[in-house]
Symmetry: D2
Subunit: 371 residues, 4 copies
């Protein structure tokens, strides 16, 4: 028997942004060791846009609870556990938490490459670096560190890279200006897009999806043809560095889970889902049957309205609707497409997909147990 690292993925439904009851019950019953939690991804039920406070609310509640459960400080939790809340459960999407726990397990030898996770941080950025090549290159480096930490040798074994990145505030912009520096974006909301975009391009660089000579400050959030097929990036006010979590498959890890992915070319591209499923040995069906459905541990996807205003030549109204933001329509659509395939609505579909997949499309990753 040898000791291997193993990633456990736990999925808990929530009845409100402050509901961590299922997680707490799992910890109490010993199914989950809170000390091993490296990341929590949450779908919360706000609008996913500027005034979505459900993300902060859930983070606040989780942070205090993790400090209680582990005896660690709030600062320690903040630095070492990636809390990535994605707002917006439009259509039929179901609010839930995905908890990634790393633990050691003893096995003779792993059955093959298993789900592996690595985390790394960049340095803290100056405000003028956010949304620019400096952030791209630092992210590239952090992805490589996280891959090494995860024992993932090849870019093709990486299937999902979650990046949490900083944003600009009025104060940060003012501070940069006081030093004679310009910034990538004039307001907070816009800066989130630039930070997400630069972070995604950094992932693409690290994985060889793009080469450095294709990238300059000017292409960021401008040239939608440049993208990563595995990046999922999210901006938050509480940090100034990029926090990177790489998920892939590695023979240095054990356990029952593996991950695959595809790149949806548009919001209804089920062929990309088939690609992802194939990699985790689940046959594509319309509406997975119970047996297969039980093997699915997590589904992670990105959604955005296509700028063309069309999906396969048909007009969509996502960008014309002043009552409901376009990203809300897009999450609802992709959520519906995936729910039809998986027979399940507990899906992590998030918006804000700058340089994360092609215009109107995005990555879709599936974590599944072996048969």
């Amino acid at each position: 028997m040898n000791t291997y690292r193993s990633v456990q993925v736990h999925r808990f439904g929530t009845s409100s942004p402050d509901d961590i009851g299922e997680l707490e019950a799992a910890i109490r019953s010993g199914k989950l060791d809170p000390q091993g939690i490296v990341a929590i991804l949450g779908k919360t039920e706000g609008n996913g846009c500027v005034n979505d406070f459900t993300r902060g609310y859930t983070s606040h509640v989780l942070k205090h609870a993790l400090a209680d459960w582990t005896g660690r400080s709030l600062e320690d939790i903040t630095r070492n556990v990636a809390l990535v809340m994605s707002g917006g459960t439009e259509g039929g999407l179901s609010p839930h938490l995905l908890v990634f726990e790393v633990r050691d397990i003893s096995v003779d030898a792993p059955a093959g490459a298993s789900l592996a996770a690595g985390v790394a941080m960049t340095k803290a950025f100056a405000p003028e670096e956010i949304g620019r090549m400096s952030q791209v290159l630092a992210t590239e480096k952090a992805v490589r560190v996280a891959m090494a930490q995860a024992g993932i040798r090849q870019a093709s074994d990486v299937h999902y890279v979650q990046v949490k990145c900083p944003l600009l505030t009025k104060q940060r912009i003012a501070e940069a200006r006081s030093r004679g520096q310009s910034v990538s974006a004039e307001n907070t909301y816009q800066s989130m897009a630039y930070s997400r975009g630069a972070s995604a391009l950094g992932v693409a660089l690290a994985l060889g999806e793009l080469s450095v000579d294709q990238l300059t400050d000017d292409v960021i959030c401008q040239d939608a043809s440049l993208y990563s097929g595995v990046a999922s990036t999210s901006a938050g006010i509480e940090l100034m560095e990029n926090q990177v979590m790489v998920l892939g498959n590695s023979t240095e890890w054990a356990g029952n889970l593996a991950i695959g992915h595809g790149v949806m070319q548009d919001g209804i591209d089920t062929a990309a889902v088939a690609t992802a499923l194939e990699q985790v040995q689940v046959p594509m069906r319309v509406g997975l049957n119970d047996g297969y459905r039980r093997r699915i541990a997590a589904v992670l996807a990105k959604a955005e309205p296509s700028r063309s205003g069309e999906i396969r030549g048909r007009r969509h109204i996502m960008l014309d609707d002043s009552d409901i933001q376009g990203s809300r329509h897009a999450r609802a659509l992709v959520g519906g497409v995936l729910a039809g395939v998986f027979g399940d609505t507990q899906l992590f579909v998030s918006g804000g997909a700058e340089h994360q997949g092609p215009d109107g499309g995005g990555p879709v990753a599936v974590i599944a147990a072996r048969a």
Copy 2:
């Protein structure tokens, strides 16, 4: 060669509620004879709720245009062409018009049962009859008349029944009260649900899905276990009778089209879509390929949030959201599920599904050309 009736179904994208450009072009080019139009179903891009004026706007524009094109009066058009506008193109749904044209064609013998359409009207209702057994029974009768007119012998050959029904206004309620009569609902919005519900139960009665002893005034909009699997009903202010259009298959008609249907048990029930597709000889695939997709002439479905607050045990937030109405979430979800299957977003998904399919589910019908 013999002369048979034939239903042609034309699908036209729209760029706004007053855009009838594609329809007009089809008429000008001779592809479509406006005199043969018996019904136009439209998905318009409003909110599909109380203050959705896109339905009235499109109807207004169509009515004036049809009068121009045919030389008939506005009254004649209103009485003889069913204009059924359904608001709400959430998620990726694409605004469009479905135009049903009846024409005579000459063939040796039909290849089998073909798409058949029949229309009929009830008498005009008194306000106190709306949303009650009187409306149920009158609708039952009208469905039978429409079936006979369409040459459809058996209930099992009926796959979709569109009913346009009246609603109560302040004036109509007052008028009933002045005669000492009570009404089924105290306000306009609520009366729309009752009228839709009673109409759907009338369809169920006509097709033997329910028996008359199961029905009383008290079950209408109360007992969700009673429903039709083929009714699609819609309330409008401009009429006091029920306008019924039955679609089914009949050997008395010719042409290339046929219709099938299934009943979605919940919003993500792709098995029901498979049932519908099977009936029109299209094999179920995740993402139909181009060849099959080209055969699809129309997809018609109903969507509503499940009252349980769950879909297959997962919480949905449709009924908790005070920013976006639940029916909007439901259309987005079902639209996404169907778009994933059909590889197309030009789908007629409508809300307001009282007694039209089980709670949280609804009928889905597919009209397709023969291979």
Copy 3:
């Protein structure tokens, strides 16, 4: 020199639901003793409807901070500090916290009746009592206790009564049913209205605005002609009793503040504002000048759409709008009316006005410093 109790009212702007920076700064600088805080009323920037989690978020943050600052337990804070968050800052309303602090001050003799505050609790209610006469009568009693505690002798000296009351959940309804009891409302949202309505009627009873023979279970949330002109009630999930805070003027208290009120007969009734201002010796002007404006410590008002669909014979669309809830329109309107008068947008305008003022109107109270 004698020692008197005194109510200090502090108003702090917030930049987000978790921003308590101004409050914290005031405590650090010694302007405010956290031990003396008896109530915090907050306007938070959510939608003020079902899925407004900004209320819970702010309460969560305040509760933890108060426990930190005072060394008291979370339970102690919950029971003894009334935290009443009202969501919705539509139009120009500005998110803020109103902190009520009671402290002892030494003066020779008070200049007259000063702002006085009294708090009291009812017993915990059984689910079947919520929204019914039992809650009405218990509230009546609690208001009398709070008045006595505040040293307010006459009902006419009471100008504002804040009640925080419980609501029904699925669990609570099930529990009542398991004992063979019925409940006032079938769902959570509806139960909030019934609880608020019963609480407001209890206030009216205590203050002699209504007599007990006018009240039965059946009039609650049905007969809008029965109301209190000073009640402001708010339902929350975290308690099962009613928490009552009475504000009035009393010679047993000292300090610079006094309170007055008027009852707006509709959403644009500035005459009621004039009545309130007169009682605190501020002359009514359109746009108070700086001198008067500085004297205003707090403005508290209730807003709801009139069920008639009209304001002074003009149609409003508040109840026809499926994109924006009616209560949001109403807060925006009343907020604008009051902002025009006060020249300030930091106003506590809340919705949900069952039996709190006439249909479409509501109480407006002003706390002001003496000239």
Copy 4:
């Protein structure tokens, strides 16, 4: 007795975007001659943003009705009657139509300067001229023509200038590009702002509020310190020229009406309303009494969120709200402020105030009958 021109202003409530019942009744009863209608301004109940189709719907209905009533062609109506629909009746604003009728009346001598109206058109613009100095200068000229036509000699006698201006569409942008021309804005929505802004600057130039050396293409929609205090501009897809209506006072006109205006410095600036009222001899009161209220024929104002995020130092959330557009909040606020003063909610408050008043403020004009 001499013959003078006279402007009659009629105000009609509407129950939906297609309700022109009150207008029709006034025409039938002879109160209003449809041949004399020069302009109809309407507040319709859509969202006032991109997908507000209530504006087009009302225009469509009015155009067909005016053609019927006058026997003139649709083209004639389009060119000669200014139909300006403004969407958005947030807060308590009441949907209504303001009909401007010019007729000849016989009087000995006018009592003083009376309400005067003049209309003029610019040439049709090429797409590349929209939102640029070319549009500014053409508008300046048209305002002067309209003033001359109205017999208004001095700029200070002009109190309201309504401009309807064109916008860019994909087709128009493509056409310009095919000729090697650039355009002011890349998309339709943005082009509306540029067209409104350039038109407002043209008004400012004509009235001497700004001088030509202050203006270049670069300041349009960039420098908010440059504005007109009387312009109200609105973009529509149906025209390529600017349609200008000037309202002011002139001794060449007779009748009972006069107009005044003020410039609100922020959304709650009632002092500006006092200025406007003073000019029409109505004393400022909080809540006009019935006598004064009856004299008010129309109130016209502009509303926009201040970009600073504050009103008099208090934070507003208008620009942070992803559920409700900022311009909707702003209309609700200004509507409430004005409703408090006028005791009436039938107010023409419109959004989209580029270069129309200072940032966060805007013009307010009052048309009133003489005492």
